[in-house]
Amino acid sequence: MHIETGAARAMETRLFRSMFEERKRVFVDLLHWDVPVLAGRYEIDQFDNDSAVYIVIADAEGEHLASARLLPTIGDHILGTIFPELCEQAPPRGGAILEITRFCLARRLRARERLEVRNRLVSALVEYALRNRIQSYTGVAEWPWFQQILSFGWACRPLGLPGSKNCLVALQIDIDGRTREQLQASGIWRPVGLADFAKAA
């Protein structure tokens, strides 16, 4: 697992540049999201700023397999800025709450590898939260993805009713000492090496 903070710094390394390239392949080419593309290659939007945190899972050759972007909820973030109406109450904000966005699995992966890599990324997100005193993640998900997030077995709940138009759901996942066990019970948990954190520090 590789961690970097800030879009500009991320763009300096090949692995994180390939993350922005994969994001273009997934979110623009495959899912047809209306988001900006830089230099025809990189999907980078207004939330890719200095405070965005990137978590990348790479293969043995150092190629990008999966990634996610974490946004502080005390500043601008997707739920708070674009979709606050998905929350029954005000969108959760705070220093111990991060928003997970751009959860991205490389398109070239086959079904079984996708699940394996997805599990590694989910475990990495939990490990990151536990080591950085993050108590909750929030996020916005389309319905099928929400059902999948729920199936990981962690403490996940919707923050409001699903939107009627595109069936988007705002959700919150609480991370605590029991989360590892919950993911273990559902077969999702994959150990994240301590060395990975040492390198990231």
Partner: protein, 247 residues
């Protein structure tokens, strides 16, 4: 009619439930509160020996009997329609998802005769697992409250997840056969209609090796035909439609 508060209470209780009888009790309660009469929380399978599967049903007994006698698990038009969508749908709108055959119409008419009215089905498609769903049904003649449906959708999802968790506790996970990387690769190509020789050329391995991989994969599923092998592997999520049709 329920509100977000009751939904949250439901989730809190569902998270603590330890056996399927308690879940059945909770389901009966929320079903009534939402204005429905019946519910079914099921994986859409009829495979023996059953892999750890979900099956908690409170439907009219007549209908359950007929359903099992005619092995409708896969051919039930409502189940089939639920494979075509990710979000909940009212049974009265099933024709917007699939074309109904004469046989489908007679199944729906039978359900109606058995006392099932309109209903709402929430599909549960978890990658790598058999499809499932959570359905709620009215008594015949009762009218579905459309405003309630977003909440019914949430309840359905959390109910299915609670049932999944219970089925994991009682049975070891991953009881179904699993394929090696290479076997899965070969089976995906079998599903594309490739011959053993073609597969050997695509993967750059010997034809004998391909024959062995496909044979081993068939043995794991206990099937003798390539077609059935491909279908079983797709069904279990060992390979996906994206692997077959390209992404």
């Amino acid at each position: 009619m329920i509100g977000l508060g009751q939904f949250q209470d439901f989730c809190a209780v569902a998270a603590t439930i330890r056996d399927s009888r308690a879940l059945a009790g909770l389901m009966a309660e929320i079903t009534r509160e939402m204005g429905f009469r019946y519910y079914a929380l099921v994986h859409h399978i009829d495979l023996k020996p059953a892999v750890s599967s979900v099956h908690i049903v409170d439907y009219p007994p007549d209908w359950v009997e007929r359903f099992q006698a005619h092995r409708l698990y896969a051919s039930d038009p409502i189940h089939r329609a639920s494979h075509r969508t990710n979000v909940g749908f009212a049974w009265s709108a099933v024709q917007s998802l699939i074309t109904l055959s004469a046989a489908d119409r007679s199944i729906l008419a039978e359900a109606h005769d058995a006392g099932l009215g309109d209903g709402f089905t929430v599909p549960a498609h978890i990658p790598g697992e058999v499809n499932g769903s959570c359905s709620f049904a009215m008594g015949s003649g009762d009218v579905l409250d459309q405003r309630q449906l977003p909440l019914v959708q949430l309840i359905g999802s959390f109910a299915f997840e609670a049932a999944r968790r219970l089925s994991r506790q009682t049975q070891a996970p991953c009881e179904g056969p699993s394929l090696t990387e290479r076997q899965a690769e070969c089976v995906a190509l079998v599903a594309r209609g490739k011959t053993d020789w073609e597969i050997s050329q695509i993967l750059g391995i010997g034809q004998e090796t391909v024959i062995q991989h496909v044979k081993d994969a068939r043995d794991r599923y206990g099937v003798t035909k390539r077609t059935l092998l491909a279908i079983r592997a797709l069904f279990d999520g060992q390979i996906s439609f994206a692997d077959v049709f390209g992404r």
